[in-house]
Symmetry: C2
DNA sequence: CGAGGTCTTGAAGACGATCAACAAACGTGG
DNA sequence: CCACGTTTGTTGATCGTCTTCAAGACCTCG
């Protein structure tokens, strides 16, 4: 159950046996969220935090006229609302894009971990900083990259993040979301995303068919995305 | 010197006398950064963090073909690279948009504060979470708001943040940056930003002349921006 | 006074949105 | 297992927003 989370953290720094054990002993309430459901809802002040065990989720904000903007994707092993520990209320919802399994841990236990294992606390904090770094990359992509560059960047990001938790096979990974989800993440229309995907497919960089993304030329994909993986902090180092 | 930072933190939670003192006793190196200069540079792994004492700064990423995207504005009292405490290297630069006064505090002292005053540590951590929340609002604005809504949102954000550190006068505040800076923040062309500002001025919502922003109708400005201040967490509450 | 930066406006064109229609895939119940 | 409705993906045509290029006004500062 905690495999993905632990793998996620171990990409950032070495964990001691006690730290790993502390995570595995976390009392959690397991929830199954059907696709389309809310993992946490905007405006709430939950007393617990959610970790995705399985499935794909996204931070989502709905605005007037029914427009939707996703601000992040989340996958197995992601602590999606650790920040609710300190923020007064959720400024956005976290929605399940596919059926999800989610573990809920009450804030009290997280504070205990932070107190008993300061280093582990720092690594958890780090994951929220990486979330912010990912936000910044999205802003850059939305503001100043071509639509192809923006799509390419997201596929690179997901490739590395999924690889970190062992959810890739070679240069392929399962991405069971819709083009509409992707368009809401990129701030573009579905139609335009569809055409951009077609272009990437035509030039042989990547395909996304039957929910499977396959990267045919990672180097060139990175290049048109101007992708530099450093911001993901996926190299273990003392924190 | 620490006034703005303390005011900034006290908007989030009550500080004890010891906590306030711990900040005021922080050994800092004061630096003057001229407009256009780097406060911290992309790729660096600084051994200290920077707090803005005076002036306006921004997180900046330059991409090929010389395009620039700003991902956040920072003002007096902002801890601009607290995250370098845990991240391996800066994924972006922080540039001075005006002449800035910056205080540098070595990471060691920050870790000491965090160890000796866990509550203060949490409030500092909180500020990085608010940064992330601001990033998310920018993503929403860039992706799904009209250019007028996006501009309006930024002016609302800056109004509340500057007000928190006492840098507003009524419904006015000094914003000594260029339209080009603003356009790089919004991911639009200068020309378009200029026209959008004109429209906002024409309908009497706000003006920005001689570096002074004046909001003439805050309620309506908030409305077209769909601005909800909650995400800034500017209400003190126990953290 | 000249040089460079900033602001402003015009004109032309590209990129992406919207509207619309259809195809393909999927799930469900008969 | 097929018929059906719904969701998702694909493509065309048209329209609007925003970009780009260009030029002039204004300002500050050497």
């Amino acid at each position: 159950m905690w495999d993905a989370l632990i793998r996620n953290l171990e990409c950032r720094d070495i964990l001691s046996d006690e730290e790993r054990l502390a995570i595995q002993r976390l009392p959690a309430r397991l929830r199954a969220i059907p696709a389309g459901g809310d993992i946490t809802s905007e405006g709430e002040s939950p007393g617990e935090s959610s970790i995705i065990i399985e499935g794909f989720a996204a931070r989502s904000k709905i605005l007037a006229q029914g427009k939707r903007q996703l601000t992040a994707f989340h996958i197995a092993g992601d602590f999606v609302d650790l920040h609710s520990l300190l923020l007064r209320s959720m400024d956005h919802s976290v929605v399940a894009l596919t059926d999800c399994a989610v573990a809920n841990v009450s804030h009290g236990f997280i504070r205990q971990i932070d107190a008993a294992h300061p280093h582990l606390g720092r690594v958890l904090w780090l994951t929220t900083l990486v979330d912010a770094a990912i936000h910044r990359q999205w802003i850059v992509a939305m503001g100043r990259r071509s639509s192809a560059g923006q799509v390419a960047h997201i596929f690179c990001e997901l490739f590395l993040r999924l690889k970190a938790v062992n959810l890739t096979a070679g240069f392929s990974y399962r991405l069971p979301i819709t083009q509409e989800d992707l368009s809401d993440a990129m701030g573009l229309s579905v139609v335009h995303v569809n055409r951009t995907l077609r272009r990437l497919r035509m030039v042989g960089l990547m395909t996304w068919r039957d929910q499977i993304v396959t990267i045919h030329d990672l180097e060139q994909l990175k290049q048109i995305a101007e992708f530099d993986p450093e911001y993901l902090n996926l190299t273990p180092s003392p924190r």
